[in-house]
Every structure is written in structure tokens, then in C-alpha cells.
């Protein structure tokens, strides 16, 4: 439990968030007395955070020479980290006391690829963001967060597998990340964490949800406040499709998926839902890259359908 952890926080100029969220984190790390460290990655490309964070000398700032986005900033931070265990964290996450030890405990098992705490959206107990799963519906892969649609039950308070570890707050091994890393296919953001978790699942590992560890996601739209909302939504939808095209690996699902895409395109055109057409076209512009990423995938220990099944909460 006392294994040291490197907390890596990629950031733009989010000093206001650090003002609120760093003190409880540092307090928790001090309480652990495990020689933990905090690495903040300055992804502004302008080296603006070091001065603002100087009042916390225990925080190490790694300034990137240029803005690279979440995935690249995270890699920079992990490369600079000194410990094997990495707690990846966004600046808008507020940790609660004792959040780290249950996660570290979970990761003691080799077959656990990553572990995610109970992330409470806005600090609300019922709104568990990290109790999250992928599912296939009508040939399309969907993200399902039951607690966010009011469907949380007792299972949400049990240690259990989940489809992925939310990249904004999760614990994994430095070596695993550096060996694989986030796929640039998803740049500039979204779904890279799902994809990375999926790599673990495909390799026969598991991703766990640890409700005993609690953090709050004080959602301030770290990206959303810098770009238009319709672009954020388009990125989510584009990367969902790219994920599908990279990971759907059974002929049946391929057939159903393509049929669904043709139908979707026709439906949206006939119904004047041009935004859906934009998402499709946006994704299809990256189809070549997705197919390259697909070709580079290591042989899977589990098919997508098996992973979908295994990563769902048991009845």
C-alpha cells in the first residue's frame, strides 16, 4: 500500500484549479508518507505554470516546448515521473482523503491493467462518472454511464471490472503506459483513455473500478471553455467511430456496424440532421489512419464482443 506514486497532471493555464485542488492532494500524499511526487505538465508551450506553482516546492513542473494536447502532455509527464505507479489526473479533479491507497492496493495484481476510483461528477454521490461501460447497440459501439442516466444501483459500490479507466483520474503502471501509450489517432482529445484501456483488455488484462477510492470531478470544461461545444461533441462522435473501426474485429459485428452506418447516413440526410453527417464525414477523413492503427494492433487475447461482455457489470 505504501508504494510510492507519481501523480501526473497535464495542464494548460489552470492555476485557478490548482489553487483549490492541489492542497488536498498534497495533504493526502504527505499523510501517506510514501515518497509520492506530483508532476504538473505545462502544456501551454509558454512555460507559465512554474511561477504560479512555486509556492508548492514539492510540485515538479515539466514544461513542454509547445502545446501538444492531452495525450502528448500525459506522455511527457509520465516520462518525467520517478515512480512506477502513475496516478493520472486532470486539474479539475478534487481528491478525497484516503483516495490513493485503495487504488494502489488494486494494482498489486499483475492482471489489473488500470484502476479507476469512484469519480463523482460535481461531487454528487449518485453521479458516478467512472462506472462506465461500452456496449454495442444496432451495430454501433456506445458509451454507457448508467449512474449519469440515473440507473446506478448497489453494484456501483462494489469493486468490479469496467470497460475503461477514465483518463482524468486513474492509476496504472508507468511501464505499461510507456510501452503502449495513447494512440495519436484520437488527437487532440477524447476516447484515447478508452482505447488505452481496451489495449489492456485485449491483452488479457482487466480494468477495475474501485468505489472505495473517491474523487470529485469539478467539471469546469478544461477543454470545453476553449473551443465551441459543437466541436467537442464532434470530437467525441468522431473518436467513437475511429475506436469502432480500429477495434471491431468480428465479421458479424463488422457487417452490422457497416449496415448501421449506411442506415445512419441515409436517416440523417433524409431528416436534415446535418450535424450527424458532419460527424461521419469528420471521422471518415481519418479512416485511413484508423485502419493503420488497426493493422498495428497486437493479436488479441479477447475479441471485442468478449471484452464488451466481460467488462459489463455482472447481474
Amino acid at each position: 500500500v505504501t508504494r510510492p506514486v507519481s501523480v501526473v497532471i497535464p495542464s494548460l493555464d489552470d492555476l485557478d484549479l490548482f489553487e483549490r485542488h492541489l492542497p488536498p492532494l498534497l495533504e493526502e500524499l504527505a499523510r501517506r508518507s510514501a515518497m509520492d511526487e506530483v508532476v504538473v505538465v505545462d502544456d501551454t508551450g509558454r512555460d507559465v505554470l512554474a511561477q504560479g506553482l512555486a509556492r508548492w516546492p514539492e510540485v515538479r513542473v515539466v514544461a513542454r516546448p509547445e502545446n501538444g494536447g492531452f495525450a502528448r502532455a500525459m506522455r511527457s509527464g509520465i516520462e518525467a515521473a520517478r515512480h512506477e505507479l502513475i496516478f493520472a489526473m486532470n486539474p479539475d479533479v478534487l481528491v478525497r482523503r484516503g483516495f490513493l491507497d485503495p487504488l494502489v492496493a488494486c494494482l498489486s495484481e499483475d492482471e489489473v491493467w488500470a484502476v479507476v476510483p469512484r469519480i463523482l461528477l460535481g461531487g454528487v454521490e449518485e453521479r458516478i462518472e467512472s462506472w462506465a461501460f461500452l456496449r454495442e447497440k444496432g451495430g454501433l459501439i456506445e458509451l454507457d454511464q448508467p449512474a449519469l442516466r440515473g440507473a446506478a444501483d448497489g453494484r456501483a459500490l462494489r469493486l468490479a471490472p469496467v470497460s475503461f479507466a477514465v483518463g482524468g483520474a486513474c492509476l496504472y503502471r508507468r511501464a505499461d503506459f510507456l510501452a503502449t501509450g495513447f494512440d495519436p489517432l484520437y488527437e487532440p482529445f477524447y476516447w484515447e483513455d478508452i482505447d488505452w484501456s481496451w489495449v489492456g483488455w485485449r491483452a488479457g488484462k482487466r480494468v477495475l473500478y474501485q468505489p472505495a477510492s473517491v474523487v470529485e470531478h469539478q467539471h469546469r470544461g478544461t477543454i470545453g471553455r476553449r473551443v465551441p461545444k459543437d466541436f467537442v461533441r464532434a470530437m467525441v462522435e468522431r473518436n467513437r467511430l475511429l475506436f469502432s473501426w480500429k477495434h471491431i474485429d468480428t465479421p458479424d459485428l463488422e457487417r452490422r456496424h457497416l449496415a448501421a452506418l449506411y442506415r445512419w447516413a441515409l436517416d440523417t440526410y433524409l431528416e436534415d440532421r446535418r450535424e450527424d453527417l458532419v460527424w461521419l464525414a469528420f471521422a471518415l477523413e481519418e479512416l485511413g489512419t484508423a485502419l493503420v492503427a488497426r493493422a498495428r494492433l497486437a493479436p488479441a487475447a479477447r475479441s471485442i464482443e468478449e471484452i464488451l461482455r466481460r467488462s459489463r457489470p455482472s447481474e
Binding site: 494548460l12 502544456d43 501551454t44 508551450g45 509547445e66 502545446n67 501538444g68 494536447g69 502528448r72 444496432g138 451495430g139 488527437e187 487532440p188 476553449r226 473551443v227 465551441p228 459543437d230 466541436f231 464532434a234 470530437m235 473501426w245 468480428t250 465479421p251 463488422e254 457487417r255 452490422r256 457497416l258 449496415a259 448501421a260 452506418l261 449506411y262 442506415r263 445512419w264 447516413a265 441515409l266 436517416d267 440526410y269 433524409l270 431528416e271 436534415d272 446535418r274 453527417l277 458532419v278 461521419l280 464525414a281 469528420f282 471521422a283 471518415l284 477523413e285 479512416l287 485502419l291
Partner: protein, 868 residues
């Protein structure tokens, strides 16, 4: 002509109220040519245009690709039921918004808003799309877009809601007139009955109330028109760019309230390259051939041209090409052509133009409205044909008189005939004018110039939208998303299908070679949202059909019912007609009797009025008499009162006379008194003078006597003191005498002798003093003095009496002293009066023989005598 540089390829939307082949007048043809030219330069052009199509549902959109651009026909079968409905068409706004969402134009260029509504501008602006409007006519300031009134007179009012409301009312009146057909912009005088023409004129002159229009209706029409005009101006204020092809039009817009400089001057270009190769106009042996080309509409003045042509002696031909929906006018022109020897050719296609113009020497544009930038003028110029045009509106700006054409007074057939005659009689005129024609701006130049304007607007808008706060890692993705978002839905769909085909190809092994159609069918088989909606719509349609059938059945029943009613009505009407004839006769008799009864009633009413008048007169006389009685009684009272007053006055007069007599007596008395007083005064004055002198003498005497008395008193006192001292010495001597014998008696004797001596001395000095004092005192009683030889005590008593007399005398003197100034003043007045009397003869005459006169005269004589 040098063409402007090419702008980058853009997605351009042209909005216009009609389009060939359905409508072929100037703006529609211009827009079609512009769309073609823009497409040739690589722009993607979508034309949005309304049309009527009873076979399609309202707001159905049909896209038709043609010559590199696309026409989007929006069906609107609804005819506006008034000016407001014509200006605001919310259904079209919704359809236009959906169209913009699908097609994503970067710019919208409105060529007209008629039939479309003002709201489309806001729809485009709400989506952040820059907007341009080319003003082709007066629609921004005139709801009839021509500045022509319904009587075809040119309107001089600008921004005058009252004039526009009259126009509305006049149109309403015309619409109610039977047999006018599609009269279009207005009617000629001969189209209306004289009475109807007068009504029309009255309405336009603001006298609608005369013809039964309620004043409130007129006010409501004015308010409505004012509100609509405001809405129109507000809509036009929203455009990013306003263009107008003529300066005349710009001037009219500014007159009506557009800000100076708001509308930019931009002459139009035309597709006229095919006309440039025609043979030039030359001097010919045959007669000159004039032509009219265009809409056969009244405001185009074709009738004026035919009237002018009728005035020509010969040597000329006239060809009339064109048509319109104003069938009555077209027929009239066709017939008139035959009457005056002109050739009626009817409608023509644009492709016929080179052939038509090749046979023509000059075009005539006899418009009676303010033409703006008519296409036919530029077609004529492009073909090298001079233009003979009305000196009106922008025609006078486009056609240069005696340079490339000739101008004549609008609506004046005689003046037009003069111009035609000049061309006929001087065969060099038309070739000379043809040589003066300048090159016509081509549509290619027009399109490139406009594209540069578009690019400027789009660039300006884009630079305003670009975010400067974007992290570099996001720039590429955000730009790609924005680019895709700007694509038309149709193009996005095509891209998506192509991309999916690529994915299908990549997975072909696993898919077993399944094609897109098969996959689509498979997908749709699992369920489709569009299909769901189609089913919903179908169910709804089925329900509506059922309802329609029920409605149709009901309508059939109603039709049958109405037919029955109609038949019954007809039968009733026939019976009614027969009865009506009887009734007419009976009615005439009744009416005659009614008229007689009315006349009798009228006579009775007149008599009643006379009686009433007489009664009123009697009442008035009675009133007057009553008033007179009251007046007489009042006067009698006044008379009695006056008599009493006279008696009183007489008594008063008598009393006054008596009083006067008394007064006279009194005056005389007073005069006498005054005389006596004068005399008395004078005597008193003399007395006073003597008294004063006496008093002064007495005063001096009294002072002397007093001094003497005081001296004597002092002496007497001293003597008394000595006497007392002597008495004391005598006593002492007596004492010593007693002691002494002989000497004693002698001493006593001596003392007695001394006393006696003293008494004699006193008597001797005191007695004259007392006597004098007594005289001064004016005492009436005799002075009683002590006898001679009286004793010393009696003398002392006499002295005390003298002292008292002196006191009384002093008091009298003190009393007389204040009277002295008054007596002095009276004396001076008398002297003045006396002096006046002496001096003035008139005064002497006036006083005459009055007592005063006599007195003064006497005094004067006395004085004179004294003087002499």
C-alpha cells in the same frame, strides 16, 4: 473590357422572386445569367425561388441542376390576402432557414423580395451569413414597386403612408370592379366607366369617405401602411450591402429615407455576347424599321408608341414583340397594331433576339413609369441599335440624347412622333447614333465584380469570428470541423457514402463482398428512423385521407343540398319574377299613392309649421304686451316719484332762496361786521399804539418807581435798622438817664423828636409815589393815604399797598405783551389794503359806494389831507 480577377470559389445563394422559364422579365433573366456566369467561374450557386405548383404540397422544395448551378423551387400556392401577408410569409422563412441549413451558402444575394417576404433577410442574418441586395426597382420604398398609382399616374409621394394607403384603397376598389381581368399595375381611363373613374380619382385624392368608406377604415389603412413601410425600411436596413444600377434609383431611395451613401452605384452586366456580331445599322434604301420588345403592359407605354406611329406619314415600319398576362391590354395592342399598320409579332424567346434585332434599325422604349435599368436597352445597345426612349427615370441616364439614342417626353405621342419622323426623314441619324453606342458591360464582368464584393463581405465576417485563443494542438481539428460544417448536406452525404465504401472495401474479406446496397438494406431492415417517420407520416396521411373522404362525402352532400337549394332558388326566383312584375305595378301605384300621401303629409307639416310659427308670434306679442304693461307701471311709479322729487326740489329751492337771502343778509352783516371790525381794529390799533406807548411809559415809570421804591425801601430798612439801633441806644441812654437826672428827660424828648422827624420824611417822599401808583393802576376808588403826620406803622402799611399795586400792574403788562405782534400784523394788512386801494382804480370802482369803499376813500382823503 478587362475582367476583374477571379475570387476564390464560394457557395453563393441567389434569391429571386421568379426564374426562367416560368418568368422571363428583366430581373429573372439577369439572375439566371448571373448564376450561369458565377458557375462558370467555379462558384457553387444555389438559386432560391418561389413558384406556384398546384400538384405539389405547399413548401415542397424541388432542386433542379442546370448549366452548372442549381435552382431550388419552393412551392408557395398561397396568394396573399393583403399587403401584410405579401410582406410577411412566415412559412417561407422556415423553409428558407431549412434550405440555408442544408446548403450552407457563404453569402446570400437577394435580387428581389416580392413573393418571398421581408423575413428572409433576418433568417440569413441570424445564421451569420452576409447579405447583399440589388435594387432593381422601387420595391424598397413602394409596395407596388413602380411608383405608379392605380390610375397609372406617376407617384410623387415619398415615405408618405397616407398616399400609400390611398393607393391600397384604390386597388381595393379596382379589384372589386368586374371585367378588368389581370389589369396589373393600373387601368387606363377608357377601361373604366366615367363614374368609376371619378371614384378612383376621389379615392386617390383622399376623398374615400365621399364614396362610403368609413373614416375609421381610411385611418386604419393609413396606420397599417405606415407600419408596413416601417417594417420594410427596417428589413432593408439589415443588408450588409445594397446595390443599385442607376443613380436615379439611388436618388429616389434617398428621397424616401435611405441614408445618403447607403446604396452603392453598380451598373448591371448582361449576357449579350451573341448580339455583338450583328450587322451595324446603315443607311438603307427601304423604310426605317422601329421595334418594341418586352412586356406588353400599360406602364411600358406601347399604346403611346402606336399612337405616335399613327401620326407618321409613312416611310417607317413598326414591329411589336412581347406578351403579358394582361390579356385585355395585349388584345387592345394587337388590335391597335392592325389599325395603325404596325406588325404584331407576340411573344419571343431570348434565343430569337439576334434574329429579331438583325431586322431592326432602332428600339423604342416608350415607358410611362420611372424605368430603372431596362434589359432591353442594353440588349439594343449590345446589338448596336440606337434607343428612342422616354425622358424619364434612369432612361435619361442610360440613353444619352443625340449620342446613342433620342429622348422624348413620356406619354406624349406627338413628341415621340417627332423623334420617329426625324429618324425617317434624316437617314443619317440612326447610323450616327449607332456609332455613339458604348460597349455594354458583360455578365462575366458583372459576376467577377460581384464575386469580389462577396469575398470581401465573407472575409470580413470570417475574420470577425476566428478565435484567437485556440491552443495550437486544436487548430487543425477545429478548422477541419468548421470546413465540414460549412458543406451542403448533399455534399456531406456524398462524402460519407464514399468514405463508407472505403471502409466496406477495407473489411471486404470479412464482409464476403457485400455491396453498399445490400448493407443499406440490411441496416434499414433493422429499423430506420427515417422509415419510422415515413410510417408516422403515412399513418397521418391515411388518417387525413379518411378525414378527407369524410369531408368529400360531406361536401358531396352539401353540393347536392346546394344544388337542390339552387334549383329551389331558381324556381322561387322565376315565381318571384312573375310576382315581381305584379308587385312592380302594385308597387308603382303604392309608390304613387305614397308620393301623394307624402306630399299631403308634407303640406300638413308645412301648415303645422306655419301655425306653430304664428303661435310662436302670438306668444311673442303677448310677451311684449306683458312687458309693456310692466314698463308702464314702472314708468308711473317713476313719474310719481319724480313729482315728489320736484316738490321736494321746489321746497329745497325755496329754502335755498331763503337761505340765500339769509346768506345775503349774513354776507352784508359780515361785510358790515368786517367794516366795523376794520374800524374797531383800526381804533384798537390806535388804542394799542397809545396803550403800547402808555404801557412803555408806564413800564419805564414802573421800572423807575420800582427802582426808587427799592432804593427807598432800602433806605427805609436802613432807617428802620438805624431806628432800631437808636431805639436800643435810647433804651441804653434811658437806662443811663434814669441814672442821670437832668439829662434823662432831655434825651427822651430828643428821641421823640427824632421819630417824628422820620415820619415826616416818610410822608413827604412816600405820598407822591403812592398817588402815582394808584393812578397807574387805574383804580376807581379814591386812594386812602395815612394822614399827614401818620405814624411810622401806617406808612409801612401804605408801602405794602404800593408793592401789591405794582405786582398787579406788572401782570397786566405781561398779559398785553403777546397781543402786540397781532396788532402789528393787522396794522400792516390795513396799510397794504390801503395801498392797494390807492393804487388800483378797478378796486376803487368795485368797492364803489360800499361802506368799505367809503371808509377807505375817507381814510385816503384823511391821509392826503394829513400829507398836505
Amino acid at each position: 473590357m478587362r475582367l476583374p480577377i477571379l475570387a476564390r470559389a464560394m457557395r453563393i445563394c441567389q434569391v429571386v422572386h421568379g426564374f426562367p422559364p416560368l418568368e422571363r422579365t428583366g430581373v429573372e433573366n439577369y439572375t439566371a445569367g448571373l448564376a450561369r456566369a458565377l458557375a462558370r467561374d467555379g462558384h457553387r450557386v444555389e438559386v432560391f425561388v418561389p413558384r406556384k405548383d398546384p400538384l405539389l404540397a405547399d413548401l415542397a422544395l424541388r432542386r433542379e441542376e442546370r448549366q452548372g448551378f442549381a435552382i431550388n423551387w419552393i412551392t408557395n400556392n398561397h396568394d396573399p390576402q393583403g399587403p401584410r401577408e405579401a410582406l410577411f410569409v412566415p412559412e417561407l422563412e422556415t423553409a428558407f432557414a431549412a434550405f440555408l441549413e442544408r446548403e450552407r451558402p457563404e453569402i446570400v444575394h437577394f435580387q428581389h423580395l416580392i413573393k418571398l417576404g421581408l423575413g428572409l433577410v433576418s433568417v440569413a442574418r441570424a445564421r451569420g451569413i452576409p447579405t447583399v441586395y440589388t435594387v432593381h426597382d422601387y420595391y424598397p420604398i413602394c409596395h407596388r414597386y413602380t411608383l405608379l398609382r392605380p390610375d397609372l399616374a406617376r407617384c410623387d409621394a415619398r415615405a408618405d403612408a397616407r398616399a400609400c394607403a390611398r393607393c391600397d384603397l384604390a386597388l381595393g376598389y379596382l379589384n372589386a370592379q368586374p371585367g378588368l381581368g389581370d389589369y396589373q399595375l393600373g387601368v387606363l381611363r377608357e377601361q373604366l366607366a366615367p363614374a368609376a373613374w371619378e371614384v378612383l380619382a376621389d379615392i386617390l385624392a383622399g376623398r374615400a369617405e365621399v364614396h362610403g368608406r368609413a373614416h375609421a377604415d381610411v385611418l386604419a389603412a393609413e396606420e397599417d401602411r405606415a407600419a408596413l413601410d416601417r417594417a420594410r425600411l427596417e428589413a432593408y436596413a439589415q443588408f450588409d450591402l445594397l446595390l443599385a444600377p442607376s443613380r436615379f434609383l439611388i436618388g429616389e431611395l434617398e428621397r424616401a429615407g435611405f441614408a445618403r451613401g447607403r446604396v452603392q452605384h453598380a451598373p448591371l452586366g448582361f449576357e449579350v455576347e451573341d448580339l455583338a456580331a450583328l450587322q451595324p445599322v446603315r443607311e438603307r434604301g427601304r423604310s426605317v424599321r422601329f421595334a418594341f420588345l418586352g412586356g406588353i403592359a400599360k406602364h411600358k407605354g406601347v399604346h403611346v408608341l402606336l399612337d405616335a406611329f399613327a401620326l407618321l406619314p409613312g416611310g417607317a415600319e413598326l414591329v411589336v414583340w412581347g406578351g403579358s398576362s394582361d390579356a385585355a391590354y395585349v388584345e387592345r395592342i394587337r388590335r391597335r397594331c392592325g389599325e395603325v399598320g404596325a406588325q404584331w409579332r407576340g411573344t419571343y424567346e431570348r434565343s430569337d433576339l439576334p434574329r429579331i434585332l438583325a431586322e431592326v434599325d432602332a428600339l423604342v422604349v416608350p415607358s410611362i413609369w420611372f424605368e430603372n435599368f431596362p434589359l432591353v436597352v442594353h440588349e439594343g445597345f449590345a446589338a448596336g441599335r440606337p434607343i428612342l426612349a422616354s425622358r424619364l427615370g434612369a432612361l435619361a441616364e442610360v440613353v444619352r440624347d443625340d449620342v446613342d439614342g433620342l429622348l422624348f417626353e413620356p406619354g406624349d405621342a406627338t413628341d415621340l412622333a417627332r423623334v420617329l419622323r426625324r429618324c425617317v426623314e434624316d437617314s443619317a441619324t440612326l447610323p450616327r447614333l449607332a456609332r455613339g453606342i458604348a460597349p455594354v458591360k458583360t455578365m462575366e464582368a458583372e459576376a467577377r465584380g460581384l464575386a469580389l464584393r462577396y469575398e470581401q463581405l465573407v472575409g470580413g465576417r470570417r475574420s470577425g469570428e476566428e478565435s484567437t485563443n485556440l491552443p495550437p494542438s486544436l487548430i487543425t481539428a477545429v478548422a477541419r470541423h468548421a470546413a465540414l460544417s460549412g458543406l451542403p448536406a448533399r455534399e456531406l452525404f456524398a462524402r460519407v457514402l464514399a468514405g463508407l465504401d472505403q471502409l466496406r472495401a477495407a473489411w471486404s474479406v470479412d464482409l464476403g463482398g457485400a455491396g453498399a446496397v445490400e448493407l443499406l438494406a440490411s441496416g434499414l431492415g433493422e429499423g430506420s428512423e427515417a422509415q419510422d417517420r415515413l410510417r408516422e407520416a403515412r399513418n397521418e396521411i391515411a388518417w387525413l385521407r379518411t378525414k378527407k373522404e369524410e369531408f368529400d362525402e360531406g361536401r358531396e352532400e352539401l353540393t347536392t343540398l346546394f344544388e337542390d337549394l339552387d334549383r329551389l332558388l331558381n324556381e322561387t326566383r322565376a315565381g318571384s319574377q312573375r310576382q315581381a312584375q305584379h308587385l312592380d305595378a302594385a308597387g308603382a301605384y303604392v309608390r304613387q299613392k305614397e308620393a301623394e300621401a307624402l306630399a299631403a303629409h308634407e303640406r300638413i307639416r308645412e301648415l303645422e309649421a306655419v301655425i306653430a310659427e304664428k303661435n310662436r308670434y302670438i306668444d311673442e306679442v303677448r310677451g311684449h304686451m306683458h312687458e309693456a304693461g310692466r314698463y308702464i307701471r314702472h314708468k308711473e311709479g317713476e313719474y310719481l316719484s319724480a313729482e315728489q322729487q320736484i316738490q321736494q326740489v321746489a321746497a329745497q329751492a325755496r329754502a335755498a332762496e331763503e337761505e340765500l337771502a339769509k346768506l345775503r343778509t349774513l354776507v352784508e352783516t359780515r361785510q358790515s361786521e368786517a367794516l366795523q371790525a376794520t374800524r374797531f381794529a383800526r381804533s384798537k390799533e390806535a388804542e394799542v399804539t397809545s396803550v403800547t406807548a402808555f404801557a412803555q411809559a408806564k413800564e419805564a415809570e414802573a421800572r423807575d418807581a420800582s427802582a426808587y421804591a427799592r432804593a427807598k425801601e432800602a433806605e427805609a430798612l436802613e432807617a428802620a435798622e438805624r431806628l432800631q439801633s437808636l431805639g436800643q441806644e435810647l433804651g441804653q441812654e434811658r437806662e443811663r438817664g434814669r441814672g442821670l437826672d437832668a439829662r434823662t428827660r432831655s434825651v427822651a424828648e430828643v428821641s421823640r423828636l427824632a421819630l417824628e422827624t422820620q415820619a415826616r420824611l416818610l410822608n413827604r417822599f412816600l405820598r407822591p409815589i403812592l398817588t402815582r401808583l394808584h393812578a397807574l393802576h387805574g383804580g376807581q376808588t379814591p386812594l386812602e393815604l395815612p394822614g399827614e403826620g401818620a405814624g411810622f406803622a401806617e406808612l409801612l402799611e401804605a408801602l405794602r399797598q404800593v408793592e401789591r399795586a405794582l405786582g398787579v400792574l406788572g401782570e397786566e403788562l405781561e398779559w398785553l405783551r403777546p397781543m402786540h405782534p397781532e396788532l402789528e400784523a393787522r396794522r400792516r394788512r390795513l396799510q397794504e389794503l390801503h395801498a392797494l386801494y390807492k393804487k388800483h382804480l378797478l378796486l376803487r370802482a368795485l368797492l364803489g359806494w360800499t361802506d368799505l369803499g367809503r371808509e377807505l376813500r375817507s381814510a385816503l382823503e384823511s391821509e392826503r389831507r394829513a400829507g398836505s
